[in-house]
Symmetry: C2
């Protein structure tokens, strides 16, 4: 699998007349090498791939990661850079005959490029900015990847159900968030794919609410947005419900969101334009009079990263292709009242899409 991916990347280097590429983006690194180390932010990398247009690829890292690198990155030569990445490149590149070196412009700091160019000049190498070369490979998932994503989604659903069954007035947002993250890991996930959102009542009006010690009261809205990482692959799901008996306003608004979600889902197929999918869902919300309260895009891709291409937003003219994965997550947010969001994940097929969630919403529309 990894050998095929490298082969495809090398073919793309050849077309661009590049002798090698540096891979700095962590999920691209994992995709191309199997190396799973996590970076502590862009300023602290746990390693960089140097993939020449032919021959053995290199994983450049430091002594803290060398054992993990050697265990995981099969087919790679692991090199240490005790004097830093640029000193290491200066030593390696001439021997590999590299004259034109691609780098990931969208995951390379402006200040680091300056350092790299300074080094490159001394050995007569030209650095060439590239964007999203590996991301374009990642956006179409193989059958195995779709299976892995489905497992991640179903485990996420299971975690939700287990914790959902224990939720009762008196619990705090933080307590529920903790229970979700603990259950994820007890059931085998590597961890959450993003900071779990648990928001009660008016807190649900913040699409990216941070859990607080607010106590759940009967009648409160509960919005939970959660995802986990299972064998590298992410899930992402949002559920909204009411503790106790929902009132008619809530039920009316919930139906609007659910209808919007179904409108989006029914528009997804290979060849559909991303903004048309967003528009189909958005129209339902606008027509119901809530257009001003749906401020974000309809969805995004999911894979090794929880947010990746494609984006289902009002300005995206890109076309969906079979094998892409997207979330469909319409929502409305009313500061004095609260919010509702529903989010599922689906795989794009030639003639439609397949929702990966069990989606037991109990909504009869």
């Amino acid at each position: 699998m990894i050998r095929q991916r490298i082969g495809k990347l090398q073919a793309s280097l050849r077309r661009r007349k590049l002798d090698a590429i540096l891979i700095t983006e962590p999920q691209n690194r994992q995709y191309l090498s199997g190396y799973t180390a996590v970076d502590h932010g862009i300023q602290e990398t746990s390693g960089v791939l140097l993939i020449p247009v032919k021959g053995t690829p290199y994983l450049l890292t430091d002594s803290r990661f060398v054992l993990q690198a050697e265990e995981e990155a099969i087919g790679y030569t692991v090199e240490l850079y005790p004097k830093g990445l640029y000193a290491c490149l200066k030593r390696l590149l001439p021997g590999l005959g590299v004259k034109r070196l691609g780098f990931e412009s969208h995951y390379f700091l402006h200040s680091s490029v300056a350092k790299m160019e300074k080094m490159a000049n001394t050995i007569d190498v030209k650095s060439v900015p590239l964007t999203f070369v590996v991301e374009r490979m990642r956006v179409i998932k193989t059958k195995d990847e779709i299976q892995a994503l489905k497992k991640s989604v179903l485990l996420n659903e299971r975690v939700f159900q287990l914790v959902y069954n224990t939720i009762e007035p008196g619990m705090t947002e933080i307590e529920i968030g903790l229970a979700l993250e603990l259950t994820m890991r007890e059931l085998g996930a590597e961890g959450p794919s993003f900071d779990t959102i648990v928001a009660f009542g008016t807190n649900a009006a913040k699409p990216h609410a941070v859990p607080t010690d607010r106590v759940l009261k009967s009648g409160d809205i509960v919005l939970i947005d959660m995802g986990l990482i299972l064998q590298g692959y992410c899930s992402d799901m949002t559920r909204t419900f009411v503790a106790g008996k929902p009132d008619t306003t809530y039920l009316e608004r919930l139906r609007v969101i659910r209808k919007a979600q179904l409108a989006g889902i029914n528009t997804i197929r290979a060849g559909a334009v991303c903004r048309d999918v967003d528009r189909a869902a958005r129209r339902v919300i606008v027509n119901a009079g809530y257009g001003d309260f749906f401020g974000h895009g309809l969805g995004h891709g999911v894979g090794l990263a929880v947010h990746e291409e494609p984006r289902l937003g009002p300005r995206s003219r890109k076309k969906l292709r079979a094998g892409m994965i997207v979330t469909i997550e319409p929502g409305i947010y009313l500061p004095e009242w609260g919010g509702i969001r529903l989010e599922n994940m689906a795989v794009v097929r030639e003639d439609g899409c397949e929702v990966l969630n069990e989606d037991v919403t109990g909504l009869d529309l």
Copy 2:
């Protein structure tokens, strides 16, 4: 507090003949505004500060974060960028009279700078790369910040002790890691400041080991590197011990590491050169014959970020100053055997340093 910080930054802008600065680095953003939103990687910001050389500063964000931004960033004007950051800047900068705009070169993607420059050209603005302007302010901690860091360190110690008391053969690395992170959050921490390391036996030979389902056996080394975030401030601590009775090899090596740590601590004072502190500790390890097995630097700064300036490494010629915070964390890593690391945090004083940890090592040297 925040007003003073902004004033200091504005004075620095004046000296550099800049009309405004964009703050993209998340901890700098928090330091200058109080806004605590977390970024999901550099490609997904939850907001950017635009601080003019005089007048009201702006927090630019999107609708997902607007309520949190307005609650937290007192004294800021919150502006949304529904059409993206650069369209928003294009609209705001002319009215503010900005001709020279600083940006954080060390936290700005190469591809984003290209987009910003394209926008800036159309409105006759020059973008000026800067590095570590706010980081240089952050490196010296105030009395209040030192208090906050001490609280974070002591809570971290307490979490360790609580979980330490429950550790027994049969537990896995993942179980102990989970117990630590759960206890952190139950006791009021926002979360871990980095992925908790729990490593048994030979796994402890990886300085950045990832917890596995390896089962603890009597006689195994246990290395735990853990930290938490409490009211924004990070802690970072490593403890190594043996499940059951340690053998003489372990005890001999543990004493070496402890002596190295004390040698480092005894060298820290305002005016000391960072690499001299590293060298004092390293010499103990080299003299004991383990020089090849201590591959990382002695320590690093801690504050709003868990890794920040200053770096106590063999190549750093910078001088320590009073009010800096550093870790002192010598270690040795022997692939066939395991590893030992001890890590405390200390505040640099004029005439020495004050260790913030309780440091109940039970080591009688």
